[in-house]
């Protein structure tokens, strides 16, 4: 199907299903109930899930396949955002040209940075990319203020010279990003009993792009090109003595993943038309590394899972505060209640990084293959209960 093996096609269908029904899946608890704070089905967070999913899928093409650990990928995301906002300012509020330009600009930018950084490998490559990203951040923050808006970030204004479109709406507001008239922020709300489900136009646009990115990633993973990238990770000596030039392969992977990051940046700006330098900071680059490793570097679905998990932690765990905790443990005797709350408190609210750090450590130590490996282990437990199929020739005959 669509040029995919059966197994990959099934995976694609699962991803399509999950993203299309995400407003239902992420809102399992009725509105107004105690558990409603664990609902993640609101547009802003759902958009972040899929956008960071795209970012991580792209990063995985570089890191997961070739093993080159870039610590500066946020720079491409930031550049993509700036390009998209400039497109809104100068051309039109339609998101398509903005997204296309952000992909192109991020691609060109990653071509330059990749060309220089890929002269080295291993830790030196990582440091070079980190240096470039921090340089871009510093430039965007100060020297390039006319282009980037500096500290305040790049925003739309009432006097933008929009060539195809109006500078202001009739009511004197800044127009909003839209896809041929369909506003990105427009949502349809569906009430089913106590449940409230929100279907947001922006989310579905981003989800469409994520599915497309995911499909492309599968094709790349299963292509001769993808195999060469894995060969680079495995043994560069044999690679060159097999008549293959590793450098253009790695550069191509670098540019492709840079374009994915640009797409994510463009989508981010399309959801909310502003771009700030902090999107390029090294913490943002580190985040996508965490996502990919947490989910499972080199696996297809892993980065998406990792992105989802980190964004969920960031947005849901960080919202639990002391009052909520007291509410949960109100049934305990007073002294014990305070004790339990004091025990859990460092791990929630502002302490969500601590929880994430512990989860990350556990995953890296016990599941080096990430969440995907965890899933496979659980599946394996279920399978083992069935009679094991006889292995053909487990022992090799001596020759």
């Amino acid at each position: 199907m669509l040029g995919l093996e059966k197994k990959d096609f099934r995976l694609l269908l699962i991803v399509i299903g999950l993203t299309m029904f995400a407003p239902f899946i992420l809102n399992p608890f009725p509105e107004g109930s105690e558990m409603a704070q664990f609902n993640a089905g609101y547009p802003d967070l759902m958009q972040r899930f899929v956008i960071f999913g795209i970012f991580a899928i792209g990063f995985n093409i570089l890191f997961g396949l070739t093993g080159y650990l870039s610590f500066g990928h946020a720079a491409f995301l930031g550049v993509g955002s700036y390009a998209a906002v400039w497109m809104f300012k100068l051309l039109s509020m339609n998101v398509l040209p903005a997204i296309i330009l952000s992909v192109i600009i991020a691609g060109l930018f990653s071509l330059i940075i990749g060309f220089i950084s890929l002269r080295r490998s291993g830790i030196y490559f990582s440091i070079l990319t980190l240096a470039f990203a921090q340089m871009s951040f510093a430039l965007a923050y100060s020297v390039l203020t006319p282009i980037t808006g500096g500290e305040t970030g790049l925003q739309l204004a009432l006097d933008d010279p929009r060539i195809l479109g109006v500078s202001q709406t009739e009511s004197g507001n800044i127009p909003v990003p839209a896809l041929f008239g369909l506003e990105m922020r427009s949502s349809y709300e569906l009430e089913l009993g106590a449940w409230l489900f929100t279907f947001n136009a922006g989310y579905y646009l981003a989800a469409f792009f994520m599915i497309l990115s995911f499909y492309l990633a599968i094709r790349i993973f299963r292509s001769p090109f993808g195999m060469m990238l894995r060969a680079i990770k495995s043994n560069q000596t044999r690679m060159s003595y097999t008549g293959l030039n590793a450098k253009p392969y790695t550069l191509a992977a670098f540019v492709i993943s840079g374009m994915y990051a640009g797409l994510a940046g463009g989508l981010m700006a399309s959801m909310d038309p502003l771009a700030g330098a902090e999107r390029m900071q090294w913490t943002a680059s580190g985040e996508v590394v965490l996502m990919t490793i947490l989910g499972g570097a080199g696996t297809l679905i892993g980065p998406v899972l990792g992105a989802g998990m980190i964004k969920y932690f960031e947005n849901i765990f960080s919202k639990i505060n002391e009052t909520i905790l007291h509410g949960w443990f109100a049934f305990l005797p007073d002294g014990l209640e305070n004790f339990v709350v004091a025990l859990i408190y460092p791990f929630i609210g502002k302490g969500w990084h601590l929880t994430l750090g512990i989860v990350f450590m556990l995953v890296v130590i016990f599941l080096p293959g990430g969440l995907v490996q965890g899933g496979q282990k659980i599946m394996g437990l279920f399978r083992r209960k069935k009679p094991e199929p006889t292995k053909p020739n487990a022992t090799e005959p001596a020759e």
Partner: protein, 252 residues
């Protein structure tokens, strides 16, 4: 005029003359062994041939073209494949993928983006890969991850990866180093078979005299970076100069 012509190669590492005025001619369709005591410059010479080292002076012509200044992958594309002392394979990949990669390298050259094509799209590539695995008796292991193979199997896999490219010249760097007796015998048989079936020219560096005398048709003896003598195996065995420099200690 041989397929490989090495003329007047010099290479110094600081104060050490690793290669001094080395001349070597490997005739097409022969097995040519290069032997010599430790430090004779065998590995340096090999590294010059594959483009890993650039000599200070001299020329290396392969099939009528100079190889000097070319990168290893360019030299490989000219038709020189190399088998390493410790097998260099793609250990994280399956055996089948290991042999498919050289198939694609042969079809596409040093770089080509085939990002959308499926690995299995071209039937011919699969058949080639399967045929070569059949030849080295490894077809039933094609789905194994290469790192889990035994040392002998890794060697055979590496050989298959080189052979599937149909090289004009196969360079072997101590192909039986560190092998058990049985594995050594297997490798000798495999190399003999390759030689007979495919008619590939081979240049082999080896310590094990048993291996050298069962395979080589010509032998060059290197000592202290200079070729001492070049002759047939029978003449080499009895050559007084060689005995003095090298074989004396080995008691052949």
């Amino acid at each position: 005029m041989g397929i490989l012509e090495v003329k007047g190669i010099n290479k110094r590492f600081g104060g050490l003359q690793a290669l001094g005025d080395v001349n070597l001619s490997v005739a097409e369709n022969t097995t040519h062994a290069i032997i010599g005591p430790n430090g004779a410059g065998k590995s340096t010479l090999l590294n010059v041939l594959v483009g890993k080292l650039i000599p200070d002076s001299g020329s290396v012509m392969f099939d009528g073209q100079s190889v000097l200044g070319r990168k290893p992958h360019e030299i490989n594309q000219m038709g020189i494949s190399r088998v390493f002392q410790t097998p260099e394979i793609f250990s994280d990949l399956s055996v089948f993928e290991n042999v498919m990669i050289p198939c694609f390298a042969k079809r596409d050259g040093a770089f080509r983006m085939h990002a959308i094509e499926s690995i299995f799209a071209e039937r011919g590539i699969q058949e080639q890969a399967e045929a070569i695995l059949e030849d080295v008796n490894m077809l039933e292991k094609k789905d194994m991850i290469a790192s889990s193979l035994s040392r002998g199997d890794k060697r055979r896999l590496e050989m298959a990866m080189c052979l599937v490219q149909d090289p004009k010249l196969l360079l072997l760097d101590e192909p039986t180093a560190g092998m058990a007796r049985a594995d050594t015998e297997n490798t000798i048989n495999l190399l003999k078979e390759i030689r007979q079936k495919r008619g590939i020219t081979m240049a082999i560096i080896e310590h094990d005299m048993n291996v050298v005398f069962s395979l080589a048709e010509r032998i060059t003896v290197l000592a202290q970076g200079t070729p001492l003598v070049e002759d047939t195996p029978d003449n080499i065995k009895g050559h007084p100069k060689v005995r003095e420099a090298y074989l004396g200690e080995a008691q052949v």
